[in-house]
Symmetry: D2
Subunit: 145 residues, 4 copies
């Protein structure tokens, strides 16, 4: 097993702060692995809400088809997390969102991962083409490698 390399803060074009909650810590006294995904999910949702006006109750929605997380160093309540988000590959209906979780002014991510999401029609549940405005925003919000 090779050890993963932490992504730097400079990889991400967009940031949002997410404070930890007491119940995020599990009995190992650090944040439970599932909670990292709730942080990723929230960060991506806020990027979509703020940058392309994503309406969570609208007639289209983003379905997560795959996601992943690499854990480099534990996060613990009461730390405040800064989530960095950037867009990787963009397809016809899909986009890959990368997220890194940072604490304080540390340059390296404590954890990093990605969500592959597909834009779908609510009525049919079938993929639809990404809107031009979304595509333009995703170009603007690319991960910086």
């Amino acid at each position: 097993m090779t050890r993963a390399i932490a992504h730097p803060r400079t990889r991400y074009p967009w940031f949002v702060d997410i404070p930890t909650r007491f119940a995020d810590n599990d009995q190992y006294a650090h944040m439970n692995n599932a909670v990292y995904f709730a942080f990723f999910d929230t960060a991506i949702s806020l990027l979509l809400a703020r940058e392309v006006g994503y309406d969570f109750g609208g007639d289209r929605f983003d379905a997560v088809v795959e996601n992943q997380c690499t854990y480099l160093r534990s996060i613990r309540f009461p730390e405040v997390v800064t989530a960095g988000v950037g867009v990787g590959h963009v397809g016809r209906s899909s986009a890959r969102f990368e997220v890194g979780l940072f604490v304080g002014d540390e340059p390296d991510a404590r954890a990093q991962g990605w969500f592959m999401q597909v834009r779908c029609a609510r009525a049919s549940g079938r993929p639809v083409e990404l809107e031009a405005e979304w595509r333009a925003a995703f170009e603007r919000l690319r991960v910086i490698e």
Copy 2:
């Protein structure tokens, strides 16, 4: 059933911001009732950490013996909550913490509740007398009726 009256922001001497997360909303598209307790728990824990240096891994801990919430008006992701906290009755080992959850600059709580907590020794799990410093802090942080 008489309708509860919302507590005003002026009732609380201490505040902390807690943003909502995407997964806080349940299928009714508002924050699930259990999540309000995670907000209360986090707000009280942060008050104790910041005002009396509560060490979550120390040889004493606060056990919740009873808690309650009254729901006045729904909170929904992506709203940011401001939690107001104040101390009610203080006993030999116990204190009652009151919390109100506010959104934006609204004067009235969307939800309000309380936690009765008992200070315990970790080794025995038995109640211990509240430290003088805690007692003094609780006097300073009384709810304002």
Copy 3:
């Protein structure tokens, strides 16, 4: 502060098993207080689904207006909880559901609490009268004092 008395299993007419999950335990290595409410919520929802065919996506829904929990003795992963549910006071639009959480064959609840719920129309969000079938089921499912 007087110590609460645990409710016996015989108080409840209806039961459902809910296993704990690893992430239910917080850093005190017992189930976090907010999770007890998720157990109550799930037990009441399953009672409504199974006994009166509650449709969670239908044009009426149950809004929680107040809830409460008394903690007698800790529950920890990997324990399996048996939730006992019974109906207390029933009003025109509202009902009070009582829940006790039991482990193994213990006669006394580890925790007990209640949810006051109001039946509402989804379109208006306003209270509606309880259906006759619900009222009949609630009579059948009364707490046994």
Copy 4:
């Protein structure tokens, strides 16, 4: 983007039932993606507790270094999930656990993923060699390809 192929039930040598909870559903009325990881985490923890006597409070613990989930078809409360678990690659200190989530008697997983875990000493936080008993159990519990 190529569509993932669902793993069959026959891939997994070990199973445990995990019922859904009301709050598992997010506002899309299906289980939130982070909750799938709580299911995986619980299923792996129960396998370790039951098959090799994993003591969650002992002087060694399993750290998750990476995990992943592929979503094939939504799971919704009140469905009951059967989690299938099997062991993939085993290293000196690490093991890869695969999990598939099934509903009813369906032969194909609704979701599938894996956790890479490293056995660590609690005092140092450093990796330690897997115990012989664990290694033997992992051979017995291999995924069936």
